[in-house]
């Protein structure tokens, strides 16, 4: 990997130069407590130390609302509406969010890639930034606390500047074009970087092993925690829309008042809404709020085989932005047995029933 150092005094100049590569988006403070990625005019507004943005960086690639096609019913026309995507730079993406984008790629860029996502992904430049965890972060438990790839540049904070890791050809080009802004990495920088990383590793609230979480979740599907927590859940969907890896979407056709032309639009959807499991004929595969609540935990903590990680990156947004005060981490730790009152009072009958359930006379050796 190539390493260079960006001295502190050159930071704002570097940000200005980034604008040559496309529209610059970076985290800014949008209100007293919240941050978000917004387009930057004045680089002095960029926040380098923020805990989490209210909208994850997936919003640049998998847009909240996107027009897919325009149609005309009488003329049987059907046209895709992919507007010309200009290059853009997203600055200040934390390691957890970079992993989030990699996870989105495994779904959206598979054998039948989503064209709308692909075009934007190719035009986006990702510049990561290091961070100190707060009490809601748990990316160390998810193994997403250090990004190995998926970025063009990654800036690590040093007392007098940034240690920059170059992760792609575009990153090389950016550094080379502005080579006068960068310096060589010195031993002192390496020491500072090591200190920062060590301090960071200690600063996480929890240090444990979550390797068998997904099995415990499945075994404990009748734990009383699900009833208690889903009772206070508002089913508002905020956990899904702030999550960097949630990717469900709903499609709707809108017809104009001429009764002929119209467009097809897609928007982010949430599995907490009633219509997520609803099929024609009014059968709902997840009829109750508890089913939907539990489904989110099961889906989010399932195994992404391509990357060897779970779909959750440990950013803490679902806990931070939940209006009802439900803590994702506390609920998972209850299932793991790390919080008080973890063991259910009685063993439910579900587990024995779920064996070779449908033929009581069958034993394994007959098959």
């Amino acid at each position: 990997m190539r390493y260079v150092k960006l001295p502190k005094e050159n930071t704002y100049t570097f940000l200005e130069r980034l604008k040559e590569w496309g529209r610059l988006y970076a985290p800014v403070k949008i209100s007293e407590k919240f941050y978000d990625f917004r387009e930057i005019d004045d680089v002095r507004k960029v926040e380098f130390h923020y805990n989490r943005t209210i909208m994850p960086p997936k919003k640049f690639f998998f847009q909240p609302r996107e027009k897919l096609f325009e149609f005309s019913i009488k003329d049987a026309e059907y046209r895709e509406t992919l507007e010309d995507v200009e290059p853009f730079v997203v600055f200040g993406v934390h390691a957890c969010d970079i992993f989030g984008l990699k996870i989105m790629d495994t779904i959206y860029l598979d054998e039948l890639p989503d064209k709308y996502y692909k075009v934007r992904r190719e035009k986006g430049v990702i510049i990561g930034i290091s961070c100190m965890p707060d009490e809601y972060c748990f990316c160390n438990l998810r193994e997403t606390d250090f990004a190995d790839d998926g970025f063009d540049l990654f800036l690590h904070e040093l007392p007098d500047g940034w240690l920059v890791r170059v992760g792609s050809p575009t990153g090389h080009r950016i550094v080379d074009k502005n080579i006068k802004l960068f310096e060589e990495v010195t031993t002192e920088d390496i020491c500072n970087f090591r200190d920062f990383e060590n301090k960071r590793a200690q600063a996480f609230k929890y240090h444990e092993d979550w390797g068998n979480l997904r099995y415990l979740l499945e075994l404990e599907m009748e734990h009383p925690m699900w009833d208690e927590q889903s009772d206070i859940c508002l089913a508002c969907g905020i956990c899904n829309t702030t999550c960097p890896t949630c990717r469900c979407y709903e499609v709707q056709d809108i017809v104009n008042l001429d009764g002929n032309t119209g467009y097809r639009e897609r928007r982010w959807d949430s599995c907490q809404f009633r219509s997520h499991g609803l099929v024609a004929g009014n059968h709902n595969f997840r009829p109750t709020k508890k089913d939907r609540f539990r489904n989110r935990y099961l889906c989010k903590n399932s195994y992404n085989e391509k990357l060897g990680l779970s779909y959750c990156v440990g950013c803490g947004r679902c806990t931070y932005f939940c209006p009802a005060g439900i803590s994702f981490v506390r609920n998972l730790r209850t299932i793991m047995g790390l919080e008080e009152k973890s063991c259910p009072p009685e063993l439910s009958e579900e587990i024995p029933k779920r064996g070779f359930a449908y033929a009581t006379g069958i034993r394994g050796e007959d098959i």
Binding site: L68, F69, F71, S72, I73, A76, Y78, E80, L82, I107, Y108, D110, L112, P113, D114, K115, K118, V119, L213, R214, Y215, L217, E218, M221, R247, C248, Y249, E250, V251, Q252, D253, V255, G262, R264, D269, C271, S275, H276, G277, L278, V279, A280, G281, H283, F285, Y297, L298, C299, N301, S302, Y303, R354, G355, F356, Y358, A359, G361, I362, D366, I367
Partner: protein, 291 residues
Amino acid sequence: MSENPYLSYDARILEVKDLTPREKLFTLRFVDPEVGENFSFKPGQFVIVDVRGFGEFPISICSSPTRKGYIQLCIRKVGRMTKFIHRMKEGEIVGIRGPYGNGFPMERMEGSNLVLVAGGLGMAPLRSVLWYAIDSGKYEHIWLFYGTKAYEDLLFRDEIVHLLKHGNAMNCSVKLAYEIESPSCIYLERGFSDRVCKGVVTDLFRGEEFDVENTYALICGPPVMYKFVIRELSNRRLSPGRIYMTLERRMRCGIGKCGHCIVGTSTSIKYVCKDGPVFTYWDALSTRGLI
């Protein structure tokens, strides 16, 4: 420029046939002949039907791939989009994209017996299997157990009755079950008393013997039906790897992106459109919530 997987291709409706008061059979051909040439599918796969102005919905293909030049879809009128499509006439255009899904593994089952168990609208994808098996002739004996609420709900009635009468020549045994009596089914019952009875589809298993080493079972029906049919099959010692089921869920994309069709739990999350819609009973045992 890359391909857009959500783009649907125009298909013209060649024929609309009423099967029952609620279901219609649509025969479609692609407007662009090249698209029609390149469209090859396996029994059990589905397409997404795109009604411009309304939306899209998934429907399994009910014609066999051995009959080329057209595809047939059996559509029940249940909601907004299907109500509109029922009003469409011959010559009109809808959008089709597909085929999606994994389909039934017909090559693996060659040379074996097939037991097709259908409930109500579940006959649609199994009809594709049925005619593929009969046309290709590569299978031993084919049983079709078809249960409906009433004789009037029987899909593909002429074909089924034809097979009831002349099926033996094609190595095919058909048995029917109905829940509500009517003059037509009493007449059928009298003519084929060993093969038509009042009851549910599991009653049709009575008295049937299968060579479990050389038989595969294919099931399709309403969600509540699967457990009972599997119990019958398991009681006859049919291995779970030989029991195939095709399932449905809400789908918006058909290619594993919109996330509505997810089933399972944290150890076994699956997309019914990409990893299915055909699953074996082993999948059902390891994926809670599948059936």
